[in-house]
């Protein structure tokens, strides 16, 4: 049983507590805390990070503190691209030259294969030592594998499906957003975009070319159209031992898909969006050409800050939430814990790697690396809010909104990409182009689900 509803402040449910306790017990039984095996001999650890600024800063900050504690340890870095982390990195992590700590997106084939082939070191010991399962909270449930082990540690949480707004453009277009930030329905989003267009702006900037944004909106809308139990089943039913109780041809799914079609046909996006990637769409928004941008909480401290410093972004953004497809319901922002870290079994310094990973998910590591160095939210819920000093104000506002209205898991960020994002995205692009129907996508998804259950991933 998986629980996918946040808010982050929600107390751990009885189920999660039982699971957490079991995990702790299992962890204690299966392996002792890694620090027991540490020595003082010189050691060099290699850590992978993605080639964007924030992860690099995070690991550098963590490494600085860690090497202060352990002067015999030297930490080197190995950069990989966004494209490589979910695909070709599998060969790196399973090779003799594997890094000691690898970057492993949880919704990628890399993670699926590494776990299936026992190519990652179980983290139960370090998780048990610091009560990490409980500190991560309900999202830790999805980390636990069928064999009872944890193989990956999330380092931060971000929220995507944030509609960043340009207040200057919206004002010129005569648009007033609802006080609670929630767009009421798809029609309202289309009307706002039309007003923006009349005022000389595109409605919503999005990078349709990149392989993930087309399915983001589905992640936001689908949970508002199905029950929590159904959402749990959609997320877990690809596993052979999970009974299918929710079908992809059900009405909530079809409504969500039809909404995506309606939005595309309604001219909400900028012209040529299917040929633009997220970076291009972001630049489109920050240069003041659109009223809104589909993005996430990493943007204010990243592209927005950089473009403001460069003088190309001349407004302070606001935010809103995508509409629900069911009257009276609300969509939410979508949390992503997915870019986790693990220790490959090919690592030559496993004990030290485990200790460094343990430090990275400790309260101190999370504060130094995630909050202070990269401006993201920590993956654990035990870092006091008073430490959130480096997070941009607007991102804290998004967090307050999440605490008030909750946040539901996105299907494509929870299931393996081969069944989720990689499969769904081209279908949504076809839907946006009017080359398929919501009903057909529902059938395709259902057929794929049965195929995955039969053949595995």
């Amino acid at each position: 049983m998986k629980k996918n509803n946040l808010p982050l402040s929600t107390p751990v449910t009885a189920t999660a507590a039982v699971l957490g306790s079991a995990a702790l017990l299992l962890g204690v039984l299966t392996s002792a805390p890694a620090s027991a095996a540490l020595g003082t001999a010189p050691v060099t650890l290699t850590v992978q990070y993605e080639t964007t600024a924030a992860p690099e800063e995070k690991w550098k900050a963590i490494a600085k503190e860690f090497t202060k504690k352990y002067p015999n340890v030297k930490i080197e870095f190995s950069a990989i691209t966004n494209e490589a982390k979910g695909g070709p990195n599998l060969q790196v992590l399973s090779s003799a030259g594997a890094p000691d700590i690898g970057l492993i997106p949880l919704n990628s084939n890399v993670y699926t294969q590494l776990v299936k082939n026992k190519a990652l070191v179980p983290l139960n010991g370090i998780f048990a030592a610091d009560n990490t399962v409980k500190r991560i909270g309900p999202p830790a449930d999805t980390l636990k594998q069928a064999d009872g082990n944890y193989y990956a540690a999330p380092h931060s949480v971000v929220f995507y499906n944030v509609l960043w707004t340009n207040p200057v453009a919206l004002k010129k277009a005569g648009v007033t957003l609802p006080a609670d930030k929630h767009l009421t329905n798809v029609t309202q989003l289309i009307q706002i975009s039309k007003k923006c267009e009349k005022a000389g702006y595109a409605g919503l900037a999005m990078g349709g070319k990149t392989n993930f944004q087309a399915s983001w909106m589905f992640d936001a809308m689908m949970p508002s159209a199905v029950s929590d139990a159904a959402l749990n089943n959609y997320i877990n039913s690809y596993k052979e031992d999970e009974k299918i109780t929710a079908k992809w041809t059900d009405v909530g799914i079809l409504k969500s898909l039809k909404a995506l079609e309606q939005i595309a046909k309604g001219g909400v996006y900028q012209k040529g969006y299917l040929g633009m990637d997220l970076d291009q769409a972001t630049a489109y928004f920050t240069s003041g050409k659109s009223c809104m941008l589909l993005g996430g909480t990493w943007m204010p401290g990243g592209a927005f800050e950089a473009d403001t410093k460069a003088g190309t972004m001349k407004f302070t953004p606001g935010f809103a939430v995508l509409p629900s497809v069911v009257t009276g319901n609300r969509s939410t922002f979508t949390p992503y814990y997915g870019d986790a870290f693990g220790v490959p079994t090919k690592s030559k310094n496993q004990e030290w790697a485990l200790e460094l990973l343990r430090y990275s998910v400790s309260d101190e590591g999370q504060r130094i690396g995630v909050l202070e160095a990269s401006g993201n939210f920590p993956a654990v819920n035990t870092v006091p809010k008073s430490a959130y000093t480096k997070i941009p104000k607007i991102v804290l506002d998004v967090l307050s909104h999440v605490e008030e209205y909750g946040a539901k898991s996105g299907w494509t960020s929870e299931v393996p990409g081969a069944y989720g994002q990689a499969f769904l995205n081209p279908l949504i692009q076809k839907l946006q182009e009017g080359k398929t129907t919501a009903a057909q996508i529902g059938k395709d998804l259902q057929a794929e689900l049965l195929k995955v259950r039969k053949n595995g991933l």
């Binding site: 294969q113 990149t210 990689a422």
Partner: protein
Amino acid sequence: MTSLKEVQSKESQHPKQGRVFRSKKKKIGLDGTNIRSAKFALIPVFVLLFLFLGLPVINSIQLSFSRWGGLGPLEPVGFQNYTDLFADEQMRYSSRITVLYAFSVAIGVVAIATVLAAAVSASVRGHKIYKVIWFFPGIAPPTAVAIFWSSGFQPETGIVNTILGKIGLGGDHAWLASSETALYPVIFVGIWSAVGFAFLVILGAIEQIPISVREAATVDGANIRQQFFKITLPLIRPVMLIMLTLQIIWTFNGFTVVWAMTTGGPADSTSILPILAYKEAFRFGRFGTAAAMAVIAGIFLMIIGSIGIRLSRSEQR
């Protein structure tokens, strides 16, 4: 050096070696000892070829008959990957557009390169600078080229649309955003980036034509156009055919430009075979199917290559 007569004499004395000496090799005067030495000297080459070409090919073929997610042991599945591929609509579509893409680019490249080479060879004004300028795209990194043109084809802000807008042809075409049109900019960029190299090769071939042939044609009253179609083109045809064959193979196997411009989209409309194989392997974890695609594409290209070489040889004769 062993004379031809001596070789023929030895051939009659050694019937087993006679089969070898009946081949054209006897004309270069190799005797039995030299052939053995040559074979011995070739061993390292064959070892290297086996290691770096043979083994990967054998491995790919083996993989194409297996199920493999990228890690762990192979699971033999017989012809399943092939039957799945032949039944797959996306595979059929990707095969069609790959052939269209490869042939369009190759024909475009050779045609434009020939015209440019003929112009430079005819010493049009500024021919020396053109020789450099036209080669520039050929040395630009493919990723940089693709990113440049990907921006260039954007509606409103792209340079192509800006130019079209200024000449009244509309400045907001979104070619890359539609599955109906996305392949055309990709073909254009493929031609643009490859024409420089073909231009140099074909220019070299044109300049190999003896000046006396042209002078004779001029004396006979042939104008420049007639000289181009009746003398230049027939004489450089073997080079053009080789260039065409190579360009088809290179473009067929091309990945970078298409990936950087469209990532195979929208809606898989520009997923040529290398991109489809990449997605199969690294996004879906179906390395067996990807290997089967590679084998099918490899066989197709071997046929194309053989035809190209045969045609080129017959032209040379």
